[in-house]
Symmetry: C2
Subunit: 353 residues, 2 copies
């Protein structure tokens, strides 16, 4: 099967700049002054001293010290990270959703009849009010139409192409530039200490795998995400290929996260990092094992340098505001560490000096 | 949830020794004399010189030599191995099926009503003729009853316990002793040269993961097998756990093998090893990539030291005889290497001196 020529980018800019207005939550809170500190090559160089940084140091020390009663053999050092809102920006809209909406334009070029059919008509209109009213079923239709039905190789090539052109409306930078530098340092610090780092995301497994190595140093097989089936077949020359099917195998969110971890990794993580109620079961599953365990949650409380949304701790609610009061209570009760972006991080992005 | 006390082993010996008669295929062919050779610590020490050993050496040389046009970066060095009949003995019956049949006895102890219900009644009778007539649907019922419905942790503990007691009827040794020493050397040789080795088996992913590291040096996350869903929940003390569900996610055989490889690994292997028609699509998928690729098939042509079954090349057919003439033709046409157990291997098992 020949790769299709995908005409990307049509209406994309207008679409994304309208979408940006949807959640309308760039609330102008004041952030505390950033504290200068530590040498750049030390572990966790972009972290201020405090309980979060200390918890990371303590966990690594206790699990890698052979004399410690909580020593963890290298083979068992597994750490899992949510992606959206934990490793990179999830506002104003998940990056993968932006990709899917962009793909609707490309699809409509290939199949002009879609321009007259809902929900594609609404997406192509770029009307934010109309788009905000799309039902879950309609959103699912858009995801199925843009993420399935093509050969796996074509999908990967298309995502790769999109990633080097699409930019975030606020920072005007590639989405892949918008990973949190302090979390990149956690990934590296854990790997330097023998931990195998995994992404465990509600996003599409195939989507995230396209850039996981380049962006996070995490190979495709260490990405656990929402998984769809594929279908093996042969092209007209008898060459085998896989087609992405609209058949959900696992929705890797909430309870799906520990289920996905079992499916893909086969054992319980030693450390888990999230930022929302969708990560709760992953953290609970991690915490339920014996020995040293580390559970951490990123709190978006920095409206100046990134965004501020809870709804816990008086932070504004939003479409993505899933750091709930219940999650906050569970974190307090069970000793999970909450990372304050405002207080714990000296910078958010690598491009900030 | 409390672990159940499983009374294993009831009727097991009688059951297995009857099952052994089922395929009745220990055909008394003569094997060629074994050739002594090489030093024990050299790579592939249990291999005779010949095209198979040479193909392994050539593949590793060309993919790891930076000056070679077919050099493969370490990150891309993925090798996949079928298990039953490729890494260990699959005769007279798959090890996992023996486990399931044994588990029927344990189940019937917990639930005596099963003794009166088919297909459990037949299995408990130990009557080989009756068992040979079980339908696929009845076998599926047995697999579902014995492999699902329990907490993941209980299942793993039970398999572990079974593995250290159950023995193969012919060699009177643990099943885990019956791995092919020459294939263990291939696993090690590839790993020593930077390859990540995976098992890709039609067997249950959770079953094989229990012993994969101990037996093959392959960690759980590098086992791709037939996958079922799990369900996250809480026990009465609020502790989270996963239950194995009778919900098939992927049948990792035939076309399911490349689909499973994509799901679990996310890219195409560089080398694949199998022994049956169920491995054909995996080898085709491997072969369809660019650059150096290695596809190998183990041929069971050694009735004296192991078993002989085809049905290709005039070898007897059997329930497991899936090295078909069509597979043999495809191997010849596409340059896949056929490994003759009789001619290529100086010994079959590590316990042979």
């Amino acid at each position: 099967m020949k790769s299709r020529d995908m005409s990307l980018g049509i209406d994309r800019r207008a679409l994304v700049s309208n979408l940006v207005l949807l959640p309308a939550l760039i609330t102008p809170l004041l952030s505390s002054p950033v504290q200068a500190q530590t040498t750049p090559n030390a572990p966790l160089a972009s972290w201020n001293d405090g309980p979060a940084k200390q918890a990371l140091f303590d966990f690594v020390r206790t699990t890698t010290d052979q004399g410690s009663s909580k020593f963890v053999p290298p083979d068992e050092r597994i750490a899992t990270f949510d992606q959206d809102g934990t490793l990179w920006v999830e506002h104003p809209i998940y990056t993968q959703i932006v990709y899917c909406l962009d793909r609707v334009s490309a699809l409509a070029t290939l199949k002009p009849e879609l321009k007259k059919i809902e929900p594609f008509k609404t997406v192509l209109s770029g009307n934010p009010e109309a788009m905000a009213k799309l039902s879950m079923h309609e959103v699912a239709t858009i995801l199925a139409a843009t993420l399935t039905g093509m050969p796996v190789d074509d999908f990967e090539a298309d995502v790769e192409k999109w990633l080097v052109t699409a930019t975030h409306p606020r920072w005007k930078r590639l989405y892949t530039d918008l990973t949190y530098q302090p979390m990149q340092e956690v990934l590296k610090y854990l790997r330097d200490n023998g931990f195998k780092t995994y992404i465990v995301t509600g996003g599409g497994q195939d989507f995230v795998r396209v850039y996981s190595r380049r962006v996070y140093g995490i190979p495709p097989e260490q990405v656990v995400g929402t998984m769809g089936g594929t279908k093996f077949g042969y092209d007209k020359d008898g060459k085998p290929f896989l087609t992405k099917e609209p058949r959900l195998l696992l929705n890797d969110d909430n309870a799906g996260k520990p289920e996905g971890i079992h499916l893909m990794i086969g054992r319980r993580p030693r450390a888990s990092f999230g930022n929302s109620i969708g990560d709760r079961e992953m953290l609970e599953y991690t915490a339920a094992g014996d020995g040293a365990r580390l559970m951490m949650l990123v709190l978006h409380d920095d409206a100046v340098r990134e965004y501020a949304y809870g709804p816990a701790r008086g932070l504004p609610n939003s479409k993505f505001g899933t750091f709930t009061a219940a999650l906050d209570d569970e974190a307090k009760k069970d000793g999970w560490i909450v990372i304050s972006m405002k207080n714990d991080w000296t910078r958010i992005f690598a491009f900030e000096t």
